[in-house]
Symmetry: none
Subunit: 503 residues, 2 copies
């Protein structure tokens, strides 16, 4: 076992990188929660230094040499996984010249500022040159990774996708989204023609902020969030971040006139947090202690948010508690009406506010357009018009301005091409996992209706969380569900919702 | 000017170390404010890694070689100060092996937790092994700096003192404290025999926590704290920490039945923060952008807390505001009575709650005991009993339990030997600086009574804050006051208080 000494030394060295990363995570969390305004300059310098230090430490030639050496050895299972994943990352990072990394980072800052300005003033033209530059840099970045002669234009996008969804391919995504789109469009059509409308105004009565916080915390705790190993704070955009194995933090925002916004975002972020809290602490800082991919991460948040926390069993448990906490708002509302309100399906302009059916159409539209942008098949000058056309075609809604259209999301401004599809992958995975869990756990619905979430969490722990990156996303899904990945569980879930509320 | 290039490169490199240090400062702040309990292990590892990284970067042989090279050059004034101080630190740090630094940092985290537990349960035995280990590590650390044959046992303590009060000596401190102790004991005796007692129960009426916070923030802002470049949070033990030039944070604690505890701790920490906010941002990360010593730092907190915020002029301005904020508690209390209450001199158990006269006796006791502990002349098993004996002798009070005795302070648990005497140095310096300011600023008392604190702050900015480490503490004091350091201004201040309230 001559490899063990090399492996352990390298592992310790790379775990230190993860510790630097977790210090950076705290700096990032603090920036968005408690940092005073004049701390911004210092914060940018601190974070840039840590990022550079981690990069320099990782791409050191000795690291590459040791990884190559270890790849020749007969490693044990755990070491094999870590070496496989470290090599994959190393071979990517080492191909991108630091000058390009620096240009990308610098451009992202200015581009995001231009985007924010364009969005505020509804002036796509202000942002367009930066979008062009960002696309160009992404193309160069992808080309570094693919080499000079990519075998297909899809390979270029594969290279970007790999940052968010390792081992996934553009080809498979295109196939999946091509199946999904017409069926979702058809579903929306049925909703439209049903003539039914969810009583969403119930959710816009007055819900005191401190009680929303208490109710959301109660629910987060009930489904398994360990508050002695985490926190809930307030920010503009909800997120989940891991500072250390025993320190996973989530955030939300509060609006007295919007029950759903806070509640479902807390459950969503709690889903992410449960995954992080379920990773094995002894593997911290190695691939075995990391989440698999964004599509798997998002499956955990969506499963709890949509499959659990919008379900009838869940509210059979939670609704009496909600009525007790918010008597003025909910005393006169029967469970069935409340359920319909939180399961509303309705065309909408803004992705982050979309219901779980429409949501995927927002994603498919972005995925299609970012492929075209990257390939040069859609000039940025035509982006707003094309966006608006497809919104009409897929979701049946007119886009009144670019702020509510192609300028609504931050992702492209900071170069996040390849990120969007992982949201829908998350929804597809969530439905498949929940379907499998219901088959494998007896009386799961009844347990949930009793407020017993431990059986489901424990199933997710042993089928998803504990494995870290042992399996790639696809293999993990197949092991957990016993089936080939498919959109059917998601479509079944959405159809049953349709039949229940819009029949 | 051939030295400039070397100097600039070295400065940039060492400023990066300061940035790592400021990331560590945030980790430390978060640990004491918001970190969930299970985050402790990860936090210890993060902080140990950053400490080690900074140490390793700093003691790199190239740094020493460049500092030696620069020390031969005819540098400009600023560079000369920075090189002088970096060399002093370098010559210290290079003597301490990184393994020992890491062990000290790691031990401090666990030891502090054991102390917190021991204090909560009043079980000195829980903490004792950690105290033994901490003392042992401190001795090893000091021995690294002194070399194998220290010329005296005082040299061992000098080595520790130098971390907090550079250029100060154990010898001078022992001389000063030997003068101070009998005069303070005598003063306490006069208070006792006066038969007068301050109406402190006024301060223990009901003061709503949110109003205490608002009132303390109002006062902190009035004396000059910039809340857009800082924060006030809640902790068990109040402190001030700098995260970046535009990010200086203070903390306090609240007790509805204790007005003074929160208010004076906020003013105290604001005094520290004003010093930090008054350092020149362009010198960030270099000695010219750092505070001189703890004794100077503490002079700033004590000056605002005791010389300003317990004075009659201050309360002529603040008292009507306090009465308006707390009508039920203060409506029937005349200013003179309130003033007596906040200037009470009375034997007490807890250092942080002690009045400004007794306070120094608490310090002298700690200073004497930590010398004995370090020299091995007092086994930790005898610490509680010896502590209690001296409390009776110096302060005339019986210690009922260790939580209110030798377990009350965090310092020793984290290895802070050599730290305590700087508190009394701070009191001595504060009185000397305030005496000088009153001589040099016309009508200072009247300005304070009008709520105009800018003249005093501006005097402190130009006489203390802006210089960073240009002068050592002793030289800075002599430049600012025009006199040799002496305990007389402090004794005059305390005597005039005695005459005013206890005649």
């Amino acid at each position: 076992m001559g490899w063990e000494k090399t492996y352990r030394r390298l592992r310790d060295y790379l775990v230190e990188n993860a510790l630097l990363g977790s210090a950076e995570a705290l700096l990032g969390w603090d920036e968005l929660t408690y940092m005073p305004p004049k701390g911004a300059d210092g914060r940018a310098r601190q974070m840039a230094l840590l990022a550079r230090t981690m990069h320099d430490r990782f791409v050191a030639p000795e690291v590459g040499a040791q990884l190559d050496e270890l790849a020749q050895e007969k490693l044990d299972d755990d070491a094999a996984v870590n070496v496989r994943e470290w090599r994959r990352l190393y071979q990517r990072e080492v191909k991108v010249p630091s000058a390009l990394v620096a240009e990308i980072t610098q451009t992202a800052v200015h581009s995001r500022q231009a985007w924010a300005e364009a969005r505020k003033t509804n002036q796509f033209q202000t942002f367009r040159p930066w979008l062009d530059k960002t696309i160009d840099l992404r193309r160069k970045y992808a080309a570094c990774i693919c080499g000079k002669n990519p075998s297909s234009s899809e390979e270029l996008y594969d290279a970007l996708l790999d940052d968010y969804e390792p081992y996934e391919t553009t080809r498979r995504l295109r196939t999946m989204f091509a199946q999904l789109r017409p069926r979702l469009v058809q579903l929306m059509e049925k909703v439209r023609t049903s003539g039914r409308r969810a009583p969403v105004e119930i959710l816009h009565r007055t819900y005191a902020v401190d009680k929303q916080k208490a109710f959301a915390e109660m629910a987060a705790k009930a489904i398994g969030f360990d508050f002695s190993a985490g926190r809930l704070d307030t920010t503009v955009h909800p997120f989940c971040t891991t500072i250390a194995p025993g320190d996973v933090r989530i955030t939300t925002r509060y609006d007295e006139r919007d029950f759903g916004n806070c509640f479902f975002s807390v459950i969503h972020e709690t889903g992410h947090a449960l995954y992080e809290q379920g990773l094995k602490a002894e593997h911290f800082g190695t691939p075995l202690g990391n989440s698999v991919s964004l599509g798997i991460h998002e499956s955990q948040s969506r499963l709890w948010e949509n499959l659990v926390a919008r379900s009838e069993p869940f509210w059979r448990w939670a609704y009496p508690r909600a009525q007790e906490m918010f008597p003025d708002a909910l005393r006169d509302v029967p469970l069935e009406q409340f359920l319909f309100a939180v399961n509303s399906i309705q065309p909408s302009l803004i992705r982050t506010e979309a219901d779980e059916a429409t949501y995927n159409l927002h994603i498919i539209l972005r995925f299609e357009l970012e492929l075209l942008l990257l390939w040069g098949d859609l000039p940025t000058s035509e982006l707003p018009a094309t966006w608006n056309l497809r919104m009409r075609e897929y979701i049946g809604i007119e886009v009144p301005d670019d702020t509510q259209g192609c300028l609504q999301d931050v992702h492209w401004s900071q170069g996040g091409f390849g990120y969007f599809p992982t949201y829908t992958l998350g929804n597809v995975n969530a439905a498949a996992l929940f379907q499998a869990a219901r088959k494998q756990i007896s009386d799961l619905d009844e347990a949930i209706a009793q407020g017993e979430f431990a059986p489901l969490l424990s199933w997710l722990r042993s089928n998803v969380h504990e494995h870290g990156q042992r399996y790639c996303a696809r293999d993990l899904m197949m092991k957990a569900t016993g089936e080939e990945p498919s959109i059917e569980p998601l479509m079944e879930h959405l159809s049953s919702k349709l039949n229940r509320f819009y029949a």
